[in-house]
């Protein structure tokens, strides 16, 4: 088995009286793609946000390469946020700057590259996401699918070790979904480990090495896509049928 990059141990999280996670534990290995599924409001996105410290967990431990990161301050989290990048559901592009500046933002902040080097890196990234020549466009000029791809490019530009995708295919038409999924496949081939939060079961089965299902604050399934499709667990079957799939 490959090196364990990320380990979540017995995570508990609640918002006021509302329990989100009740003892969630999982591991992510180098190069592995993990699909995180579950109904709406089961805390999939909260789990991703907790990993990079955008939400603080109430109990448990989050370890990156064996180092505990859940108790670090904002400043001490910075090096880990470079290694673990987050691709937002909406893209979360900075709407006052153009595509080039959005993708280049982490490079300007965290590297000493010259402007020419940054320009080359952004051009390379735009080629990867099939948006060559769109550097000067503003986020408002892009379609939803394009915004998500630019968001993914921005998350990828510093060569992270793990990418957390928060519903990258949500709200996209089939053509755009295919674009995003093929981009994720390209990145997976480069050896990036990822956690892929989604409701899109076919994409998760296509992309992921392992599927995890969250239900009522706990993990009720954690195995291969093949076993997921053939699971006899009533909650997993119910989740699959609720998504309109009959596998």
């Amino acid at each position: 088995m490959n090196e364990v990059l990320l380990e979540l141990k017995n995570i508990h999280k609640s918002f006021g009286q509302h329990l989100i996670h009740s003892g969630v534990s999982l591991t992510l290995h180098r190069g592995e793609s993990l699909g995180l599924l579950g109904g709406s409001g089961t805390g999939k996105s909260v789990l991703l946000r907790s990993i990079i410290g955008l939400e603080r967990i109430d109990e448990g431990e989050i370890l990156f390469k064996g180092e505990r990161i859940d108790q670090l301050t904002e400043n001490k989290l910075i090096p880990y946020r470079i290694k673990i990048s987050y691709s937002f559901q909406s893209g979360a592009l900075f709407d006052s700057i153009n595509v080039f500046e959005n993708i280049a933002y982490p490079l300007f902040e965290h590297t000493t590259f010259s402007y020419a080097q940054i320009k080359d890196k952004v051009a390379e990234m735009l080629k990867l996401i099939d948006l060559e020549g769109k550097e000067e466009l503003m986020p408002s000029d892009l379609s939803g699918g394009m915004q998500k791809r630019v968001g993914m490019a921005r998350a990828m530009i510093l060569n992270p070790e793990i990418v957390l995708y928060d519903e990258p295919t949500a709200g996209l038409d089939p053509a755009n979904t295919l674009n995003v999924v093929s981009l994720m496949q390209k990145l997976k081939k480069k050896g990036l480990a990822s956690i892929f939060v989604t409701h899109d079961i076919p994409s998760a089965i296509m992309l992921c090495d392992r599927i995890v299902v969250l239900h009522e604050g706990k993990i009720i399934f954690n195995d291969t896509p093949y076993k997921f499709q053939n699971s006899e667990d009533p909650n997993v079957r119910k989740f699959i049928s609720q998504q309109g799939l009959h596998i």
């Binding site: 904002e74 090096p79 979360a92 592009l93 900075f94 902040e109 998350a155």
Partner: protein
């Protein structure tokens, strides 16, 4: 009955606790802003951009408010003092009022409306569209990136705007003095410079810098905590303008008092 009392006491306790948490968070943001100013990286180009937007962009309304204040105050003081034969005191009274109180106060209130609401709406909209989360997720600090340039832009710009407002107000007063009360500009300006001392200018300048800090810290604080979509942005904007305006008025009293006592 006892339940009612307990419930009321609990509510009081919660309200008091929330107030102290709020005050703590405001001072926490102020402390972090100052801390980020004196550590790298410092975004000088963003500071210049904000000075251009918040300071230079407020010049036109500053000129209008300054001129209006000068004209109206001179007219009222002129006719008021004329009843007691005190018309010649008008330049002194107007210029002193403008330098110590009216120019910094009215300019700050106007800037609180224009710039404070703009900062709150911009940062609030960034919050509800997850752009603040994106700044954090990309390994940068929203305070360093957003708050520091805005804070210093207004702390630097507002005293300059107040000085401009004072100068334009003095010119407005001079026009009214000449046209309504036959006071020649030479005498008017002599009385202005003879009356307004260095400490009076400094009082206005320091007040304006403090008001600039109040406007930006409250606008950024509320903007960063904005939730509930566009409705939340609207609520944030209103809250910032009202709170900053009240705080400017209250703080003005205390700073005036301190200056009168120590200087």
């Amino acid at each position: 009955m006892i339940d009612l009392i307990v419930s009321k006491l609990h509510n009081r306790y919660e309200a008091t606790k929330n107030f102290f948490v709020f005050v703590g968070e405001i001072f926490g943001l102020l402390f972090e802003t100052i801390q980020c100013t004196f550590s790298r990286p410092f975004y000088f180009s963003r500071l210049m951009e904000q000075i251009n937007h918040n300071g230079y962009g407020s010049i036109s309304i500053t000129v209008v408010i300054g001129l209006t204040m000068g004209l109206v105050m001179t007219l009222n003081f002129g006719y008021g003092l004329a009843k007691f034969g005190g018309t010649l005191y008008v330049p002194a009274v107007v210029s002193l009022s403008l330098a110590r109180e009216m120019a910094p106060l009215f300019t700050s209130l106007l800037v609180a409306g224009r710039v404070g609401s703009g900062i709150a709406a911009e940062i609030g909209a960034m919050s509800v569209t997850q752009q603040i989360d994106a700044i954090r997720a990309l390994g940068t600090s929203p305070v360093r990136v957003l708050v520091v340039p805005r804070f210093w832009s207004l702390v630097i710009s507002l005293p300059l705007l107040s000085a401009l407002s004072f100068a334009v107000g003095v010119i407005g007063g001079m026009i009214v003095c000449k046209m309504e009360f036959d006071i020649v500009p030479g005498f008017y300006l002599y009385k202005v410079f003879a009356t307004v001392k260095f400490r009076d200018y400094m009082s206005g300048i320091i007040k304006s810098a403090v008001f600039g800090g109040i406007i930006t810290i409250f606008a950024c604080y509320k903007g960063l905590l904005t939730k509930e979509g566009t409705k939340g942005v609207g609520v944030t904007t209103t809250w910032v303008v009202v709170t900053a305006s009240i705080l400017i008025l209250v703080t003005d009293f205390f700073i005036s008092k301190i200056f009168l006592v120590i200087w």
